[in-house]
Chain length 369, copies 3
Amino acid sequence: MADLLTPPDDSVTLLNGHGSRRAFLRNSALTAIAGGVLAACKGQAKEVAGVSQKPPVPKTASGVDSSGGTMPAGAAATPTTTDADKMDAMHEAGIKSFPAKTEGKGNQPLTPVMDGNTKVFTLTAKPIKWETAPGTFRDAWAYNDQVPGPLIRVKEGDRVRVILKNELPESTSIHFHGLIVPNAQDGVPFITQPPVKPGASFTYEFTVRNYGSNMYHSHHNSTKQVGMGLLGAFIVDPKAPRAIERADLDHVMILNDSQGYTLNGKGFPATEPIVAKRGQKVRIRFMNEGIMIHPMHLHGMPMTVISKDGWPQPAPWKCDTLNIAPGERWDVIVNCTEVGTWAFHCHILPHAESEHGMLGMVTALVVQS
Amino acid sequence: MADLLTPPDDSVTLLNGHGSRRAFLRNSALTAIAGGVLAACKGQAKEVAGVSQKPPVPKTASGVDSSGGTMPAGAAATPTTTDADKMDAMHEAGIKSFPAKTEGKGNQPLTPVMDGNTKVFTLTAKPIKWETAPGTFRDAWAYNDQVPGPLIRVKEGDRVRVILKNELPESTSIHFHGLIVPNAQDGVPFITQPPVKPGASFTYEFTVRNYGSNMYHSHHNSTKQVGMGLLGAFIVDPKAPRAIERADLDHVMILNDSQGYTLNGKGFPATEPIVAKRGQKVRIRFMNEGIMIHPMHLHGMPMTVISKDGWPQPAPWKCDTLNIAPGERWDVIVNCTEVGTWAFHCHILPHAESEHGMLGMVTALVVQS
Amino acid sequence: MADLLTPPDDSVTLLNGHGSRRAFLRNSALTAIAGGVLAACKGQAKEVAGVSQKPPVPKTASGVDSSGGTMPAGAAATPTTTDADKMDAMHEAGIKSFPAKTEGKGNQPLTPVMDGNTKVFTLTAKPIKWETAPGTFRDAWAYNDQVPGPLIRVKEGDRVRVILKNELPESTSIHFHGLIVPNAQDGVPFITQPPVKPGASFTYEFTVRNYGSNMYHSHHNSTKQVGMGLLGAFIVDPKAPRAIERADLDHVMILNDSQGYTLNGKGFPATEPIVAKRGQKVRIRFMNEGIMIHPMHLHGMPMTVISKDGWPQPAPWKCDTLNIAPGERWDVIVNCTEVGTWAFHCHILPHAESEHGMLGMVTALVVQS
């Protein structure tokens, strides 16, 4: 099992193509401004051979402009800055800035302290400011100053202790969503425990019995508290992984819609791309902590669905758009056969784009040759 | 096949734990008020042994407070009634009252009158007042004064007659959602029959050809009429059940969002818990008669999905959160291995909780040892 | 593989039943007006024998009114025109007009021009007026004056060229949703190509590697552009179809909610029925180009789900209500065993009916004997 994704050092390379300039020029009817566009765009125009493995034939290659005599009436011979250009410039600026820097990064691995054989994780819940997109700061409630909270990752059979410290102005609790735990550790105030008052602590402890992609989050005044950011991933690696779930990269993608549309606490262009080498397998663990569905669409190549809520799907199946409902987790494997920068976004389009450009639940899978 | 769930006589027992008092006290930083909390809460703190089957080790047992020197700054040594306490008191009061008594109970089995070999069910549609939660009465349209309407349950191959009497101020009809019936019995006014006028009756009759979890509801002015409550479950038991669908308890859970968020016509705390013994298998038949999705999340143990719209799933699969869309039915089996009171709710959190406490689409699976 | 559905010449026959008049009269408590109702309705009252294959027994046949002494109080002996009648008349008028004529028809097969072995499709995007339901004209943006755009249908392994001509007031692009194409052909401005400016053209070209039910649509300012109508089906037939996917009829059903609730660009009663002969198999390709889920419910007989996003489901499964999320495609096979006119609609009821009658995402499967 590979480590979680390390983001690339040089984001500029994400949008660098290979030899695409000529194809771009061929395809622009507005060559007068094409240079400027290219400077920003540098799209992935290296053609990947089709199934037939034949190289692209130049005279019918992709990107050949067949205009000329076929240009529609009204095409401007001498372009000027139009409303369309202004809109495009906003779109371009957003994409050029991807992945944009923001303060704070959620979902960072939390290293446990060992107490004998017990892995001890401490989570402090408190109000913070969280930058969801460049310049957009929101009042959030966070575990350890992160939204999503830190990634807890253990192995099937581990003994785990989670110490919750409440520095919020109201009571709270933690529910381990998807884990089979003793009832007293289930985190539901007045059913399994008293609420954890402001200033107080509570300790959860259990043996991890079931593996998979799970979550932890507040279960007290949860519409507000989870909405404010008290949520995180709790991944349990199996003792004996199935062959199908072995992957070179492992990416958690927590969907949320409470503080804008976010992936792992950030909206585009501050979202994190997934960067893989051609031929690698990437496991993506979708988790929905919002209150709306989000059908995630990957361009370029299919996803194979291998697990639901941490439980193996008995008959894995392929798709390119996977609908994830609140509380659900779906694990998929992407076999990175196709080189390029591939858009990856919620297909409820208002969650992904406005007239000002891409936003919210948009990222990219970058497959490097 | 077991009878449908008989609700427990003594609701107080639902929230009684086993030997949990000490664990609670250990875990409360506010012991001055813990007694009061316990009186209400009595959480399920008996630890269920993990996969390793080892008994919990006392000194690292769940619920051990590791605070003391680790208490965050600002923790109140002498608690006073705070806003947090007031909120918690509202949450506690809701849970203490569960399952709360309300007038009327929907989904009650309707015993047919036999006419030769034909099972005759009479449904009278008329306006009523329906109490969805304690003190909340709504104008409803109901079959036989119930929301959902009475449970019709027959066997594959039965001959069934359903007499609809319309005491509503507008025309109506019944569609048998999911049943394969002759077209004339399909209940769509102006396509398969005339509308049934106010004061009139209509008789449906057919042989039941396909088994499974189906529904009946109005198919005339249906946004309003189904929204007002003209809906119910129509279950057909198979002649030859599959091994996987045999269960000790059988629970119908009709989801609705038209008159508040309800399960079987009631919102929390007036919802009905499911009470099982450890080791029993519970079949839950989710049916969505609303206009929104509802991803239902069961705490504590997974659900195995065995049927969709009454049709067997060829490869049953496990989950803990199942998304049910309007018109869908999903059947699951829960193997009640874990003792305790387990929250069971829609994971669109505003459908389940507000600052005033749990509400709407929340119930519990109570597994007794 | 059969051709796409040819709509019936005579829509009146859709609602003609066989010998149903007597049953209707028996079932109407308002016989004084029943003749008028029948003139419009002529419901499908021919009973299809049940599993037992016994003919219906006259004295217990469906449609027998068991009223008389059981008539509820208040039943009018001499009916007058009531509010209920007025409402019914509106419902009846809508259904009588189905399928209603409107200007324009989307999703029409586009015949390619051959350039050697390359299939060349030209799509011109421009503003039009589109009639979604009788008398309701909307400002739309369309490919080749159609909403949805013309149907592109090719075979696995084909070389395809798509020429996009932009006659819109803003830039655009085309994304081939679900197709595995070289990155430069993926249609995402500033990532894989420059935006196609007003008046300009762009040429996409690729070898079709994966078969199935796919889509094409704008990927620039897409919330608006797809919402306005820049979308269409892109179907790839496999070289070697599976046995389960062979069908007598093949129907594309594009769901949308941006310009009212529509199926293939039209709202009821202007939607297109699916007309089959008893015993035929109909393949339906659901595609959601809207921003909401749409759980489609077929009356009368189940659907077998065979593909998701063009990829085979490893274990096909049955349902009668299939939830389709934005961006998803689901292929089903309906084995037309039941004769009659069967309602087929989104089960989010406000998407299908109001007090004025059926609307939006409603059509019918007509199975002729």
